[in-house]
């Protein structure tokens, strides 16, 4: 598994090639790229703050959980922080497996986890000033579908 939390942009093509290079037992590579949306929402830029160390630590646990659920070959996760503009890449998740069902399910599982558990916070810049983005109920509900052991506790903190 490779997990990077970084300021710099990344190259999805290079990551995808690296994950499957020289492997003849990997039939499926499922991947996800998250991009900054802007314009329509009036967002001119955003700054991603994070909790260094906690993401990496939590990702190790969630990857173990994914491996218990599905037969995976490899996992790559990259999450950027810092100031980003609309259209910029924020996050990359790729999963390789012998079969596509496992690759798709594990990739979506990891993306849901990143959205709902990884300690990142978005500060949006708009014409009216900057504001911290509120968490979406929808994201929490999606993550709860998986009933993960490492859930972000709700309510009573």
């Amino acid at each position: 598994m490779s997990c990077r939390v970084q300021l710099e942009d990344f190259d999805p093509g290079a990551e995808l090639s690296r994950l499957s290079a020289g492997k003849s037992h990997v039939g499926a590579v499922a991947s996800f790229i998250g991009l900054v949306r802007g314009a329509g929402d009036g967002v001119s830029a955003m700054t991603l703050e994070h909790y260094p160390g906690m993401t990496e630590r939590q990702l190790v646990a969630i990857e173990q959980e994914a491996r218990q659920r599905w037969p995976l070959d490899d996992v790559s996760v990259i999450h950027r922080f810092g100031r980003l503009l609309p259209g910029d890449r924020i996050v990359f998740v790729a999963v390789t497996s012998g079969h596509r069902a496992a690759a798709f399910a594990a990739c979506e599982f990891l993306v849901d986890w990143l959205k709902n558990r990884a300690p990142f916070w978005k500060l949006e810049e708009t014409d009216l000033g900057s504001r911290w983005v509120a968490a979406k109920e929808d994201d929490e509900a999606r993550a709860e579908r998986w009933e993960t052991a490492s859930a972000q506790p709700k309510g009573e903190m």
């Binding site: 906690m54 990884a118 300690p119 916070w121 911290w132 979406k136 994201d139 506790p153």
Partner: protein, 83 residues
């Protein structure tokens, strides 16, 4: 004990990180929240409603009844919005 604040909590508290020495009666995360609220109006405001915030102890999510020790790293933050 290292206490970290992220996103809007950091703004209200006025710092992202402080090294603190809570009194012995602070045994759980809930006790710590109560004690922190007495430190400044900013702390009180940031930690006023625990339903709006999340916490981690040693980089794992934790609930209010989580026990604490002097060497712990504790963090308070809003629900996450990454990805």
């Amino acid at each position: 004990m290292k206490v970290l604040y992220f996103a809007w909590l950091r703004g209200k508290v006025g710092t992202g990180e402080e090294e603190l020495f809570p009194p012995p009666e602070v045994k759980t995360l809930g006790d710590l929240v109560g004690w922190l609220r007495t430190r400044s109006p900013g702390h009180a405001q940031a930690l006023a409603d625990t339903s709006l915030i999340r916490a981690a102890v040693n980089q794992d999510y934790a609930r209010l009844d989580h026990p604490l020790s002097a060497s712990d790293e504790v963090a308070f933050f809003p629900p996450v919005t990454g990805g």
